[in-house]
């Protein structure tokens, strides 16, 4: 029998701040955390519009924390998630996190030292291994249990949530801490810039004049427990993780399939795993990067799954508030979806006043909307390699 999966704690740090309250406030106010920042010493494409964690939450600059920034962000979110769930250090839980590159900025510095004949710091060998931040953070917080780092590009943390969901719902474990993290690095900005996918202004998901994404950084970790395990210790759920679906497009390494094949399949599988039909979905939190291909692909998939009802389902993308946080994107979306359900608001898709008529029937909220009870939100994340994934976040049971 499938076990209900409760979300009993969240830890989050992003360009919007730290913790539930700061993120809820930012969503309510329709505030963006994007700022112009010099990542390349003033050379083009500087200044990059980025979603950088504010100084008050992360006192170290990007340069100062090059080799350990991912560790610090993950550690912050992990600690906060444990506190939020009422759990102390020294617990036993699976810990599964998604990331795209770990501490890649440290690896960039390593390459740079090697090229210039400077002695390469031997400790930098750890930056070749994206699994090291999780190993360190788990140890630092005294979490014993299975550890797994997932690198499924920008779908990484949805995959981590999905794996944890499956393990708990099948009774293979009773508690997991899952989510994702990625730190700002010039490498990732240079990479997306080389693909001509970086926007010089705040991104405009689903807008007619959308022209790319803004890089961001974040860590978001969720404490997931079986209903029985949570109830046994008197923990109350913030929400439920109700379903997960994934698919591969087998279409292109970096571009999403314009037919939306992966997202459509993932969405259908997520609904099936939640035991729900399309009618059960009250809102859609889209990946919505603001690139031509991503937004089109997601729209086509939603159109196919929800049909004419799509026009009545509020949809949003929060990339224009947080930036694209890559490996953390899915888990950050999940946290913002939980806030959406708990605070009864649909976040604004900032800067996207001029919605592309191509997306007819997609009800993108361009302003913050108050809403009645939303039972379920579908939250998507798409990644390079044709990876598509959807998690279904559901309102906590009334009697919990």
């Amino acid at each position: 029998m499938a076990h209900e999966v409760w979300i009993t704690g969240i830890g989050v740090v992003s360009a919007l701040g730290a913790g539930y309250e700061e993120h809820a406030e930012a969503l309510r106010m329709g505030r963006s955390g994007l700022v112009p920042h010099e990542l390349f010493g003033g050379r083009e494409p500087d200044p990059c519009v980025c979603g950088i964690v504010p100084h008050r939450c992360m006192p170290h600059s990007i340069e100062e924390s090059a080799g350990i920034r991912a560790d610090l962000l993950l550690d912050f979110a992990l600690r906060q998630a444990l506190v939020s769930a009422g759990l102390g250090a020294g617990i036993h839980a699976d810990i599964i996190a998604g990331t795209t590159l770990g501490n890649m900025h440290g690896a960039t510095r390593y390459y740079s030292n090697v090229r210039e004949g400077r002695p390469a710091d031997p400790s930098l060998v750890r930056h070749f291994l994206p699994c090291m931040p999780l190993a360190w953070a788990a140890r630092h917080n005294g979490i014993a249990g299975r550890r797994l780092t997932v690198c499924s590009a920008c779908a990484s943390s949805n995959a981590a949530l999905g794996l944890a969901f499956r393990r708990i719902s099948r009774g293979q474990c009773s508690r997991a801490i899952a989510g994702g993290f990625d730190a700002m690095s010039p490498f990732v900005a240079a990479g997306f810039n080389s693909l001509r996918l970086i926007s010089a202004v705040p991104c405009k998901p689903f807008a007619r004049d959308r022209n790319g994404l803004n890089p961001g950084e974040a860590a978001a970790m969720l404490v997931l427990e079986s209903k029985e395990a949570a109830a046994e210790r008197g923990a109350r759920p913030l929400a439920r993780l109700a379903g997960y679906g994934e698919a591969l497009e087998a279409y292109h390494y970096t571009r999403s399939d314009p037919r939306g094949s992966g997202t459509e399949a993932a969405l259908r599988k997520a609904l099936t795993s939640a035991g729900a039909g399309p009618d059960a979905i009250g809102a859609i939190h889209l990946h919505g990067t603001g690139t031509e291909a991503n937004d089109r692909s997601e729209y086509v998939a939603c159109r196919s799954v929800f049909g004419d009802r799509l026009a009545f389902i509020p949809a949003c993308s929060t990339k224009s508030a947080t930036g694209h946080t890559f490996g953390a994107a899915g888990a950050l979306n999940a946290v913002l979806s939980i806030i959406s359900i708990c605070e009864r608001i649909i976040p604004a898709t900032l800067f996207s006043e001029n919605i592309d008529p191509e997306f007819a029937g997609l009800s993108i909220s361009t302003r913050v909307r108050e809403t009645s009870v939303v039972e379920m939100i579908a939250s998507s994340a798409l990644g390079f390699g044709g990876e598509a994934s959807v998690v279904i976040i559901a309102r906590a049971p009334e009697d919990a």
């Binding site: 390349f40 050379r43 083009e44 795209t100 590159l101 770990g102 960039t108 390593y110 390459y111 740079s112 090697v114 090229r115 390469a120 031997p122 930098l124 060998v125 070749f128 291994l129 994206p130 699994c131 190993a135 550890r147 797994l148 780092t149 997932v150 690198c151 499924s152 590009a153 995959a159 794996l163 099948r170 293979q172 010039p186 490498f187 900005a189 240079a190 990479g191 810039n193 080389s194 693909l195 001509r196 994934e246 698919a247 591969l248 497009e249 087998a250 279409y251 292109h252 390494y253 970096t254 094949s261 992966g262 993932a266 599988k269 990644g383 390079f384 390699g385 044709g386 990876e387 994934s389």
Partner: protein
């Protein structure tokens, strides 16, 4: 009872061999000499576009060859029911170096989009999915020396639980001078000449190599007749009877002390005296692919009756099994430990009726 899956396809590529069929003879011929480090010529998978292959990272080409071979063996090309799980350790280091070189030499505006898109960590999964037409879903996991066994365990679980009907799972590692230098800096890299045998003296560091190995797994009941099965063990308590062979992932590196402890724990439970074999004295240290090469040897022993020589061990291990060949094995236990002491066990067994 321990749950198990059937292995329906195997594909591998290494500096010394690129088919399971030739593996035992090549292994015996090396006699524990220091393994070669790089694959001279990576064969093109069937129906692969040369232009796409030229753009791929070396790591991706290795993975694609091995995965394509495994999928063709298993008959799961263009399958919406087959998932993919790829295990990696260092990823595409050489292509990322190339990306950085352009960036540092000519500025961030001149960084190569081809090097970036083919250099991301999950590029091998994307390439396998696109080339083999596998769309059920999947993920790339990153870990250290035991990552391959974890990957195969995840694949088995996903098939047993019904997430995928089949799962193509494997690991890949490319030889990179940058990575080699990094390990040399911390003293883990073996600088010495042959012979290279674990447990034959003090640990001297590992011999870095490259390669890829993939398997296709399916539900036990989907396979008829002779078959080799794989069970990921969550603890040694699940070991039912003695294995005929133990395959260790010892390589002269930091994981050896945990491999040694794991071997001792297995032997303490055994009534008989299993043979102990090592894959890395032939394949070198290939991190995420390492345990999968051990798994390929296990498959070869069980499916083909292949015979591998056992080398004499350091008496310090407390088990002086004579050097001899292994014949007629029915079960093989693969041990895979990481540098941080996390150990996975995988049991391979065979069925020859039905």
């Amino acid at each position: 009872m321990t749950q198990r899956v059937a292995i329906t396809g195997v594909g591998l590529i290494s500096p010394s061999v690129n088919s399971v069929r030739d593996m035992a003879a090549a292994y015996a011929a090396t006699e524990g000499r220091y393994p070669p480090q790089t694959v001279n010529d990576i064969p093109a998978p069937e129906a692969a576009a040369p232009r796409e292959l030229r753009r791929m990272a070396r790591l991706t080409r290795l993975a694609l060859y091995a995965a394509d071979t495994a999928c063709r063996n298993a008959g799961v090309i263009s399958s919406p029911e087959c998932g993919i799980i790829v295990g990696l350790t260092h990823g595409t280091s050489s292509l990322l170096k190339e990306f950085h070189d352009y960036w540092f030499d000519y500025g961030p505006q001149m960084a190569s989009p081809v090097a970036f898109s083919n250099g991301v960590t999950n590029a091998p999964l994307g390439a396998v999915s696109k080339h083999c037409g596998l769309t059920a879903g999947g993920m790339t996991v990153v870990g250290a020396e035991n990552c391959g066994m974890e990957t195969l365990g995840l694949a088995a679980r996903s098939v047993i639980d019904g997430d995928y009907r089949y799962c193509c799972a494997g690991g890949a590692e490319e030889y990179s001078q940058l990575v080699a230098d990094a390990y040399r800096n911390i003293g883990w890299f073996c600088r010495e000449a042959p012979p290279f045998l674990p447990y034959t003296g003090p640990s001297r560091g590992f011999g870095l190599s490259e390669g890829s190995c993939f398997f296709v797994t399916a539900k036990e009941q989907d396979v008829r007749g002779k078959a080799v099965f794989f069970s990921p063990l969550t603890s040694l308590d699940e070991l039912d009877g003695d294995p005929d062979v133990i395959l260790s992932g010892a390589a002269g590196g930091p994981q050896d002390r945990f491999e040694r402890e794991a071997i001792a724990a297995v032997l303490a439970r055994c009534k008989s005296r299993p043979h102990i074999l090592f894959s890395k004295c032939f394949f070198g240290e290939t991190f995420s692919a390492g345990a999968l090469f051990s798994a390929a040897m296990a498959w070869d022993i069980l499916a083909n009756g292949a015979s591998y020589p056992a080398y004499p061990l350091d008496p310090d291990i407390g088990y002086a099994h004579p050097a001899e060949r292994v014949d007629g094995a029915q079960s093989v236990l693969v041990i895979s430990s990481s540098r941080s002491g996390e150990t996975f066990f995988g049991l391979f067994s065979k069925r020859s009726f039905g």
